[in-house]
Amino acid sequence: LLSRSIANWLLRRRQLSPFGACVNRRGGASAALLTDESAPERHSLDRHVGLLYRPEEADWQAVTRHFCRPELVRLFDTLGQRALMVRRPALEIGERLAGHAGDGRPCLRFVLYGRRGSGKSLQMGHVAAACRRRGWLLVTVHNAHLWMRHSRELHESAHRPGMFDTAGYGCIWLRHFYAMNQEILPGLRVTKELSWNAKESTPAGSSWKEVIDYALARPRYSCAAVQFLIDEIKLGSVPMPTLVCFEVANCLWWHRSGIKNDAIRRTPLQGEEPPWRADITAKQLTLLDAFKQLLDSDWNNGAAVMSVSPQGALFDRLREWMPRKLLGDEGFAYLDPFVPVYVEPYGPAEMSNMLNWYTESGWLTSEAAATDAGRAELAFLSDGNAGELLRIAGEW
């Protein structure tokens, strides 16, 4: 008798989807909840969490686009509309940063962590767009782990002996930096004389644009230019606060890479024939070291937001996602103390809103995607992960 009642209870439960708790709202898809507030710095924790907003064109082209995955950018191009979700981590960081600058306090460091695809980069993008609208200077690095994996042009550095320059990536970064800060850069001046080599130098008081133009014309000195500009920021010669965004910061402490270098000389092992080659570590690249200096806490009037991701992990740490594991001893000691910010998976309300938007914009073309069972299945398969949902929704 007891078993029959249990069986009946199970039968009744079977009518409901077992994963319905992952998604809000019965009754299929409904309208997506969008907010009219397109300015990221005006989003607040009370009113806008869980809503979607449409970024403005200027913000998107200059800042937010670089923090998005290429798949997401392509999706927005195809659909002809853009909508990003306002979430708690970005708003919490934004609140701290609003009152932080200009008090002589050292650089405040945030480390965003979470599973791969949970939305760390987009949260950084939200913070960066908000700070840019407040008039901050933005220094953003997106592809550092790719610099370590693929690098063809490597030169011995003149301005930092014993290290290596990646001239191509330096030029690309300078162009990206210029495009992001076009309104602010004309007002910035260099306070020291920058000597490129024994014969050429840029005098003190010249604008930052001249320095960047020189480096783009002479790619050999692009990494030196980056180093000089970062020295200027650390000196405090920049009148406005600076925000440093570094995606996948755990690659700064790699002991291996995809780049071999014949210039490294080490004692040959027993019976080894030359040429013996070793991996280049992150400490030996001037570009990476320059940005690492910005992540230190010995400068004022700025903040640094970093993310640590398994995407930038070496082969031995591919399954880890916590900061302590990804950064290792050295990286953790360097960044300590920092504010860890967890980017959590979508909750039921956020998942429901995201599915509504995908259905409304026409990306989910299957009839099953509008039903309760289909939505519950999408929520289950993606497990609340934003990146997984984006990938799986391509199929539905």
Binding site: R4, A7, A368, E377, R391, E395
Partner: protein, 247 residues
């Protein structure tokens, strides 16, 4: 055997609009109307599978308790074929897409292929939506965006009605046009699509070339449909030997 032929002929006539040309189906029916010459031994045993019905949702769910089903209920003793290995009971499951995926599997790496297919279906959406955005208003409604429906249409357009089989007779090798079962026709369609989407070297990812080929095939263009039409043409050329068929 005449029953079988009638069955094929009726299938042909029934799906006349399937692959674009009424002349093709009429030609196929004409070829098939010729009687085959039997060369097999009359003592040869023909093994048949039982006509077990497919598993349906009303049958007992193997994952739940069955104690609530009375012992005299026919569900307890009904013979059903068990569900397929990759048959998923989901609202999004599609048997044709599932079989199509199985056709591409190499070395048992079906899970790796699943990612490829997810990307491929997203790519179909991108291609078709871009085309729909660029199309004039009167054509917008006719462009199919759903990848599952695009795959169905592509497979339908690539499915041949007849196939060439080689028959060795009297010292000569003849190409004989023969009918196909539904499953074999579908397999031929998959094979045409797979070979058409094969790009040498590392120039393009499979999901991209396959998506492009499927979209073309759904519009009756492209290499896969061309291969099917070539096959039909060869069947038409060899229609004189249709009676050499061993069925």
């Amino acid at each position: 055997m005449s029953q079988l032929l009638l069955g094929y002929a009726s299938r042909l006539l029934g799906c006349q609009s399937r692959s674009g040309s009424a002349a093709t189906t009429a030609a196929a029916a004409a070829i098939l109307s010729q009687q085959p010459v039997r060369h097999k031994s009359p003592l040869q045993k023909v093994r048949k599978r039982g006509p077990f019905p497919e598993w349906t949702k009303t049958d007992p769910d193997p994952h739940l308790f069955t104690r609530h089903i009375p012992k005299t209920d026919e569900r307890r003793t009904k013979a059903v074929r068990p569900p397929g290995k990759y048959q998923i009971f989901s609202v999004h499951y599609d048997p044709i897409v599932n079989s199509f995926a199985g056709h591409f599997v190499k070395c048992g790496q079906r899970d790796k292929l699943r990612d490829v297919f997810t990307q491929m279906m997203a790519e179909i959406k991108h291609i078709q939506m871009a085309r729909r955005n660029a199309a004039p208003p009167e054509e917008k409604a006719s462009i199919e965006v759903d990848p599952t429906r695009v795959i169905h249409k592509a497979v339908e357009n690539c499915s041949p009605l007849l196939i060439i089989k080689h028959v060795f007779r009297g010292g000569f090798l003849y190409k004989v046009p023969c009918p196909l079962r539904e499953s074999e026709s579908q397999m031929r369609a998959f094979k045409f699509l797979r070979i058409a989407s094969n790009v040498r070297g590392t120039k393009e990812h499979l999901y991209r070339s396959l998506a492009r080929e499927l979209v073309n095939a759904s519009n009756n263009e492209g290499k896969a449909v061309h291969a099917k039409l070539q096959l039909h043409k060869t069947c038409e050329e060899n229609r004189a030997y249709a009676n050499y068929r061993i069925t």
